[in-house]
């Protein structure tokens, strides 16, 4: 792999940029691999990367039905934060956030991590109590957050209206080390590093069946023929149910559409991420100047990657009261992603009823922020059979009633 550096840019500038090679190879699948990861999104590629980097497992294929990073990795609002209430969640999300800090250097690929700060507005008395509790919990977990006053909110976000008639801003939970990153670059950076370790990223290769015998996985059937493997990782977000059905077990997961939109680009006006969970909307400004806006998920099963007008209206209507400045902006793009929701709104990183099949899913509406931590933990689980980060996220927790209940705890829109 040619390293990217200022010298590489200078060298290529002198020869009309004709020496840049492809960032990753596109090989045909081999007959057999030590491990196969289904899904070349952020989580799948990160899993493969840490399998190679931390555990020396490099005979790995990553199979992707569409194109690399073309699912939810390309369909999110790029927010990175770790201000969760429950210890298990805080541990894995904080691991992810800390890995984001060094990711560009680690991958030699600029993922444009911008620790600009994430603010969750408290707009009811209940939210004030909830966020103060979260800030205390975060202090114990070693996650740096604080509860800030409305005046501090206004000074950090001058365009905000803190005196809204229905939902005035009463304070906020502030994580100054949260932020955003370039979502595509995260997938591309991991893909380049995986390819460089000799892993095969096979795009346009749909898994159509999973072979197992005597409770042990043997391989997969794909649109490019059968491939054998010793270990299989299913990291497919919204299509978890479909893959689990192929392997013959059921999952406590339902696929629903989550949508987001961006406005036309405007001059820089907001340099933090603001989430308003009571009115159900969140917003940040991209480097291009677009206001990136996200809202709630549909309440019904949906695999269409489409949004619906009334959800856009709901989200924008809520945000306009808090940000009057955006009321005349035009919508530029609008998209939907298929997210996998679990009952307790926490992910599943687990062994499955079939031996040597591992599953990483259930990130629901908040997967992007977790990519490196999820990959790190999933790789450890696949390589060693256990990981301290994934222990509490096992499938058994539903049977045992040991939920990691973030649906009420995180205070975030689900």
């Amino acid at each position: 792999m040619k390293r990217y550096s200022v010298f590489a840019v200078a060298r290529e500038a002198l020869r009309y940029h004709q020496g840049w090679g492809r960032a990753w190879k596109s090989p045909e699948p081999k007959k057999k691999y030590d491990a196969i990861i289904i899904g070349a999104g952020g989580h799948g590629l990160a899993t493969a990367y840490y399998l190679g980097k931390n555990h020396g497992l490099k005979n790995v294929a990553i199979l992707e039905k569409g194109w690399l990073g073309g699912g939810n990795t390309g369909r999110n609002t790029t927010i990175i934060r770790s201000n969760y209430l429950q210890d298990a969640s805080a541990a894995i999300y904080e691991k992810a956030r800390s890995l984001y800090e060094t990711m560009s250097q680690d991958l030699n690929y600029n993922v444009m991590f911008s620790p600009r700060g994430v603010m969750m507005l408290a707009q009811t008395q209940h939210e004030i109590r909830g966020y103060k509790r979260t800030a205390q919990a975060n202090a114990l977990q070693g996650v740096s957050t604080e509860f800030i006053s409305p005046e501090k909110v206004k000074s950090l976000v001058p365009i905000i209206n803190i005196d809204g008639p229905r939902y005035p801003v009463l304070g906020a939970l502030w994580q100054s080390r949260g932020g955003t990153a370039r979502h595509d670059a995260v997938a591309w950076g991991y893909a380049r590093a995986c390819s460089d370790m000799g892993m095969d990223i096979i795009q346009q290769c749909e898994v159509t069946g999973i072979r197992h015998k005597n409770g042990q996985v043997q391989g997969v059937e794909t649109s490019k023929g059968p491939i054998d493997c010793q270990k299989l990782g299913i990291v497919v977000a919204g299509h978890t149910g479909v893959l689990a059905d192929m392997a013959g077990f059921r999952m406590p997961v339902e696929a629903v559409a989550l949508q987001a939109l961006v406005s036309e680009p405007i001059k820089p006006c907001m340099d933090v991420v603001v989430m308003a969970n009571t009115v159900h909307g969140y917003m940040s400004q991209s480097d291009k100047g677009e206001m990136v806006i996200g809202g709630g998920a549909d309440g019904f099963n949906n695999y269409t990657q489409r949004g619906s007008f009334h959800h856009v209206e709901e989200t924008v209507r809520a945000l306009i009261e808090t940000f009057p400045i955006i009321s005349r902006l035009k919508m530029l793009r609008w998209w939907g992603g298929i997210v996998d929701m679990t009952g307790d709104r926490s992910p599943i990183l687990s062994k499955t009823p079939v031996g040597n099949i591992f599953i990483n899913c259930g990130w629901g509406t908040g997967g992007f922020k977790a990519i490196p931590g999820s990959g790190w933990a999933m790789a450890e689980l696949m390589a060693k059979g256990h990981s301290s980060l994934t222990e509490e996220f096992s499938l058994n927790r539903f049977k045992e009633g040991k939920f990691i209940d973030e649906s009420v705890a995180a205070g975030v829109a689900h």
Binding site: H239, A255, G299
Partner: protein, 109 residues
């Protein structure tokens, strides 16, 4: 936007007039059942990419719960039917089979 015909008041209702209620025809388990049965009833879901049977409530209309058959891959609605049943009626199954030849799901089709 999804449009369902409420089988009770007969109105063609938009999605905004309705409230989704999740998977239909769950077999309920209570005290005395095994851990697996309880887990399956409470958490595990069919989640198919295709034909799905589900519950909806005509919340801003007559207020009644009803059942619907819908495709989660295309959002096509095959039909709605009464809530007072343990499985989809034959006419709904026939509509699905005519539109999705070869469709099979668990013990249906």
């Amino acid at each position: 936007m999804l449009v369902f015909k409420c089988p009770y008041c007969g109105i063609e209702a938009d999605e905004t007039e309705l409230s989704p209620g999740g998977e239909a025809h769950l077999k309920r388990f209570g005290p005395g059942s095994s851990d697996e049965e309880l887990e399956g009833y409470l958490f595990n879901r069919e989640n198919p990419k295709g034909v799905h049977f589900e519950r909806w409530r005509h919340v801003y209309g007559c207020g009644k719960w009803f059942h619907a058959a819908r495709c989660t891959a295309t959002l096509e609605v095959f039909g709605t039917y009464s809530a007072q049943t343990f499985g989809p009626p034959k006419e709904i199954i026939d509509i699905i089979k005519s539109k999705r030849p070869g469709w099979k799901w668990r013990n249906l089709g």
